[in-house]
C-alpha cells in the first residue's frame, strides 16, 4: 500500500492500531485529560478527609448552622453559566472569530470571578463568627476542600487572562489553540468537582 494514500480511505480500511500517530488535537487533549484525572484524585483525598471529619465539630458550629443554600445555589449557577460561556468561547475559537472569543472569555471570567467573590464572602463571614479553619476538624476539612477548589478557580481565571493576551499577541497558532482547548477542559473539570462539593458538603450537611 502506498504511503500517500488519501486519508479518507485509510481511516476506513486501516485498523486504528496501524494508522500512525493521532492528530495533535487528540494527543494534547488526552495528555491534559490525564493531568485532570490526577488532579481529581488529589481532590478525592480532600473529599475523603471531609467525609471522615464532617461530624467532628468539637462542640462548634455544624454545617447545617453555617451554610446558606441560596448562596450556594447562586454560586453553582455562576459556575454553570461560566462553563456554558466557556463552551461558547471554544465554538468561537473553532470558527476563528476573535471578537466572539473575547466576549465568551469575558463572560467566563466575570461569572468565575462572581463565584470567587461569593465564596470569599462566605469564608470571611464564617471566620468572622469564629468558625475558621482552626475551630474544629470539620472546619479544617471544609476549608481545605472548598478552598482548594477556589484556588483552582483563581488559577483558571489567571490562565484565561493569559490566553486572551496570547490570542491577541500570537494569533490563532496551533500552540495557542491547543492551550485554549486545555483551558476549556480545565474549566469544565472544575465544574465536575464543584458538583461533588455542593452535593456532599452543602446539601449533605445535616
Amino acid at each position: 500500500m502506498s504511503a500517500s494514500a488519501p486519508t479518507v480511505v485509510t481511516e476506513i480500511e486501516i485498523p486504528i492500531s496501524e494508522r500512525g500517530p493521532s492528530p495533535r488535537k487528540v494527543i494534547i487533549g488526552y495528555g491534559f485529560w490525564l493531568f485532570l484525572l490526577s488532579d481529581i484524585i488529589v481532590f478525592s483525598a480532600l473529599f475523603a478527609a471531609y467525609a471522615v471529619l464532617s461530624g467532628r465539630t468539637d462542640g462548634g458550629p455544624t454545617g447545617a448552622q453555617l451554610f446558606h443554600r441560596q448562596t450556594v445555589l447562586v454560586e453553582t449557577g455562576c459556575l454553570l453559566f461560566s462553563s456554558f460561556a466557556c463552551a461558547m468561547m471554544s465554538l468561537a475559537i473553532e470558527l476563528r472569530r476573535r471578537a466572539w472569543m473575547v466576549a465568551g472569555a469575558l463572560a467566563t471570567f466575570v461569572l468565575g470571578a462572581a463565584f470567587l467573590v461569593l465564596e470569599l464572602g462566605e469564608f470571611g463571614a464564617m471566620i468572622a463568627r469564629g468558625a475558621g479553619p482552626n475551630r474544629s476538624a470539620f472546619l479544617s476539612a471544609f476549608f481545605a476542600l472548598v478552598g482548594m477548589h477556589g484556588l483552582h478557580v483563581s488559577i483558571g481565571l489567571a490562565w484565561l487572562v493569559s490566553m486572551v493576551a496570547q490570542v491577541f499577541t500570537l494569533g490563532w497558532r496551533p500552540m495557542v489553540i491547543g492551550r485554549l482547548a486545555c483551558f476549556s477542559l480545565f474549566w469544565h473539570a472544575l465544574d465536575i468537582v464543584w458538583i461533588g462539593v455542593f452535593t456532599i458538603v452543602y446539601l449533605g450537611a445535616r
Binding site: 486504528i16 487533549g29 488526552y30 490526577s38 461530624g55 462553563s83 465554538l91 490563532w172 458538583i195
Partner: protein
C-alpha cells in the same frame, strides 16, 4: 499573517477532517448540557430540602442526581465519547473513577473501623484533645500526651 496561516494549514490539526463547524450545529451540545445541568442542579437543591422524599432516601437521590450531572458535563462539555478517538479517554476515566472510589470509600471504611475501635473517644463522646488519633494502646498509668 500569511506565514501563520501557512503553518496552521501545514500542521493540519486546526479542525478535524469532515467536521465543518458552524454556529448552529456547535450550539446544540452546549445548550443541551446547560439545560440538563440546570434541571439536575435545581432537582438536587429541591431534593435536599423537600419533605416529600423519605429522609434516609435523600442522600441516595442526591448521589444519583450528582452522578447524572457529572455524566452530562462529561458528555456535553468535556466531549467524552465512545468513538474510536475516545477509547483511551474512557479507559483513563474508568481508572480515575476506580482510584477515586478506592481513596474515598477506603478512607471512610478504615476510619469508621478505627473510630469504632477507640473506646474512650467515640463520635458522640465529649472531646478528648490530648489523645486524638492515638488509640489507647498504652498501659494504664502511662502518660497519654506531651
Amino acid at each position: 499573517m500569511d506565514e501563520r496561516e501557512l503553518r496552521q494549514a501545514q500542521s493540519g490539526d486546526s479542525e478535524t477532517p469532515g467536521e465543518s463547524p458552524d454556529w448552529k450545529s456547535g450550539l446544540v451540545k452546549p445548550l443541551m448540557g446547560l439545560a440538563g445541568s440546570i434541571v439536575l442542579t435545581l432537582a438536587s437543591f429541591w431534593a435536599a430540602g423537600t419533605p416529600l422524599v423519605w429522609g434516609p432516601g435523600v442522600p441516595v437521590l442526591l448521589a444519583a442526581l450528582a452522578i447524572g450531572q457529572m455524566g452530562v458535563h462529561l458528555v456535553f462539555f468535556l466531549h467524552v465519547s465512545s468513538g474510536p478517538e475516545g477509547t483511551n479517554t474512557i479507559l483513563a476515566l474508568a481508572f480515575g473513577v476506580f482510584v477515586v472510589a478506592l481513596v474515598v470509600f477506603g478512607s471512610m471504611v478504615i476510619m469508621a473501623n478505627l473510630d469504632a475501635g477507640m473506646a474512650s473517644c467515640g463520635m458522640h463522646a465529649s472531646p478528648c484533645p490530648q489523645s486524638f488519633g492515638h488509640p489507647p494502646l498504652s498501659a494504664p498509668g502511662a502518660p497519654t500526651g506531651p
